[in-house]
């Protein structure tokens, strides 16, 4: 009960099946005010189904969703009033202007008539589209559409902003602008639930991350906690020209190297604690046995964690 009052979002035991196929199984997490929470998972992992249940578009088979103390099942109006939902597609009217779109959703969501005009201008400023507000949406660039798509979810001043892949198909400049804006919202105290295919986005803006696979949360924590799950060792990929077997044997005896394997005819993979600092010793160890023609040091990251936990890359 205490959690429910403190957290902006508390969801527990969410499950959803379609004709015997489990889409989401026992998903649960909390998001505190001012916290950005990321949902990472490959396509079909259950992210969108989870979000659909959180915003009330789908009824869960089991589980509860409480938003700002309001139970979505028993008090949907109060719960939904605290949620801003940014769908994956540009869910706006292409033949209306940006301003007309925002005004429509202001009125639809019951903002007092006297506040509509001011709030629309605020949001247009927030998403940086005040100068294009009177152009029809179908004349906007992809990035501008994404920004106004987010703006429409902010009109009723939600406590929790839920974004489903909000930067798909936008240019790097627009992406930066969107992420900067989201960071400002979080800094102002808004809670964020963010799903994306882009690992670097999630790593940048999310305080905590849940990795979702086959409908379940397989790991949850801060970026650091998740990376720790697969250990802190660096991976060193060496390409050698010379006596590879002898070089490999020498490298196995090098202090700090926990694993050394031959991956292809001329390639060797080393796993080593603080591998990036071990590089000079690695090169001197093989000196005179084989020439190092290429080297790559891979630090432990979310991608590696994701690969470790789900057995696939995020974009599979």
């Amino acid at each position: 009960m205490t959690d429910t009052l403190i957290n902006t979002l508390t969801c527990e035991n969410l499950s959803k099946s379609y004709g015997g196929v489990v889409a989401v199984r026992d998903v649960g997490f909390t998001i505190a005010p001012g916290e950005a929470y990321g949902l990472l998972g490959p396509n079909g992992a259950g992210k969108t189904t989870t979000i659909s249940m959180l915003v009330g578009l789908l009824k869960p088979d089991t589980g509860t969703v409480v938003v700002g103390g309001a139970d979505l099942a028993t008090d949907p109006m109060a719960a939904k009033a605290k949620i801003g939902y940014v769908p994956q597609e540009i869910a706006l009217y292409p033949d209306l202007t940006g301003r007309e779109n925002l005004r429509f959703f202001c009125r639809l969501f019951g903002l007092p008539r006297r506040e509509v005009r001011g709030r629309v201008e605020e949001v247009l400023d927030l998403v940086g589209l005040a100068d294009r507000a009177d152009a029809k949406l179908d004349t906007y660039s992809g990035g501008m559409k994404r920004r106004i798509n987010i703006g429409a979810a902010l009109l009723h001043r939600p406590e929790l902003l839920i974004l489903d892949e909000p930067t798909v198909g936008v240019d790097p400049q627009s992406r930066k602008s969107i992420l900067d804006g989201l960071e400002r919202l979080v800094a102002d105290g808004m809670a964020l639930l963010y799903t994306s295919h882009y690992m670097e986005e999630v790593e940048r803006i999310c305080h905590r991350i849940a990795i979702v696979d086959h409908g379940s949360v397989v790991a949850e924590g801060t970026r650091h906690e998740l990376v720790e799950l697969v250990g802190g060792a660096d991976r060193i990929e060496l390409t050698l020209d010379g006596d590879v077997e002898t070089a490999l044997a020498k490298l196995r005896g090098l202090g700090g190297v926990t694993e050394a394997v031959r991956t292809t005819a001329g390639s060797v993979r080393l796993i080593a604690e603080g591998g990036r600092y071990l590089l000079p010793a690695v090169i001197s160890t093989v000196d005179g046995i084989a020439a190092v023609t290429a080297v790559e040091v891979v630090e432990p990251d979310l991608e590696a964690t994701f690969l470790h936990l789900t057995g696939s890359t995020l974009r599979d």
Partner: protein
């Protein structure tokens, strides 16, 4: 919640006004339909004039009575002209040549058979080229059949009661079953003044109502596709608001459409649709039923294209069976029974009954009641469909 609903309705109406579909479907097409039917079928002359051949192979009192009654009928005066023909073959030749529009054939021994309580069979020849003459001929024969049945029943009852066979004829005639008494005044076509422009104009308005409300529900499915429906549903509004908002606009535009058809017919061509309150109430009930049926389709359709196709099929099937495309009375009995399941049939029948009759709303209570029942049933099924699909 009302404000949210009106916001959805306002956007829907604005969209329809901006893309001019509102103007086209609510004003231009109804006026055009009324004008077309008015020019083609309206006017001061009685639209129904028929020359019907009469082949009397019986030579008895029954055909003579029919001829006498037809000639004396004020309802048929100026509408029906009888032309005597000697044989079925000659009647067929005259029909093929277009000299007559239909023919009624009394077989030999008809009067004797009826007099003996054994009934009788009257033949009718019709032509696809002159359907209205066929309607008149069939209407006359329907009346004859009623009389024959009554006469047959009376004769059998008399025989069963012990009246000697030789005295039955006199006994029956003395007791009021003397012979033909053709009164066709309850038949809407028999007055000869039913304006076909009203009939077809009303039929087209009934058909078009489906398309008008269908367009609104199609836009609901488009909103589902473009994601705006989910965005609305994720907001603090009731799930029914987008559906109701669209329905209100579809219903209102359809009402404007049918009323403009009606007003155009009356104001431009001076047609008489009957008591205004009754006509309006009937049109209201029809549009309500059309709204509910198209809503039902939208609740089950997966895409706007699928909804479009299904609404098109339903509209035309209902229009055909409901008399919007071909007169109800030309349909075979079995199709006329099927027609009772379509709102168009009740609307067309109600409007036809009102046209020129001077009857008030009470006379169309049954059609209005049935249309409302259709609407309630379809709304109920649509609600179930939306809960399982769009709002599930």
């Amino acid at each position: 919640m009302l404000r949210s609903l009106l916001t959805v309705s306002a956007l829907e109406l604005r969209t329809r006004v901006r893309d001019r579909t509102a103007l086209i479907i609510a004003i231009i097409v109804p006026v055009a339909m009324a004008t077309l039917f008015g020019v083609a079928l309206g006017g001061d002359d009685p639209p129904l004039r028929a020359t019907v051949g009469m082949v009397d192979l019986d030579g008895g009192e029954f055909p003579a009575g029919v001829r006498r009654e037809v000639m004396a009928s004020t309802e048929l005066d100026g509408v029906l002209t009888l032309r005597d023909l000697p044989s079925r073959e000659r009647a067929q030749s005259a029909l093929d040549a277009g000299d007559i529009g239909a023919a009624i054939i009394f077989p030999a021994g008809f009067s004797a058979s009826v007099g003996a309580g054994e009934g009788g069979r009257v033949g009718v020849l019709t032509s696809a080229d002159t359907p209205l003459a066929g309607v008149v001929a069939n209407a006359v024969v329907d009346r004859i059949s009623s009389l024959v049945r009554a006469r047959t029943l009376a004769v059998r009852a008399s025989l069963d009661a012990g009246v000697p066979a030789g005295e039955v004829k006199e006994f029956v005639e003395r007791n009021g079953a003397a012979g033909p008494a053709l009164t066709l005044d309850n038949d809407p076509m028999a007055g000869g003044r039913v304006d076909l422009s009203v009939y077809y104009g009303a039929g087209m308005a009934a058909l078009f109502a489906f398309f008008v409300v269908g367009a609104s529900f199609r836009s609901l499915l488009i909103e589902r596709k473009q994601g705006t429906l989910d965005r609305m549903r994720a907001g603090p509004i009731h799930g029914w608001v987008p559906i109701a908002g669209k329905a209100v606009v579809g219903f209102a535009l359809a009402m404007v459409s049918v009323c403009v058809t009606w007003a155009s017919s009356v104001l431009i061509f001076g047609s008489t649709w009957g008591d205004p309150v009754a006509v309006f109430t009937l049109l209201l009930a029809h549009v309500l039923a059309a709204t509910a049926i198209t809503m039902l389709v939208a609740s089950r359709a997966r895409t706007d294209a699928q909804a479009d196709g299904v609404i098109m099929v339903i509209s035309f099937v209902a229009a055909f069976f409901g008399g919007s495309l071909v007169p109800l009375y030309t349909l075979p009995d079995v199709l006329q029974k099927i027609a009772l399941f379509t709102p168009n049939a009740w609307t067309t029948t109600g409007l036809t009954g009102l046209a020129g009759s001077g009857a008030g709303p009470a006379s169309v209570a049954l059609p209005i009641g049935v249309l409302c029942a259709i609407a309630v049933a379809a709304f109920g099924l649509a609600a179930t469909g939306f809960r399982k699909g769009l709002l599930g």
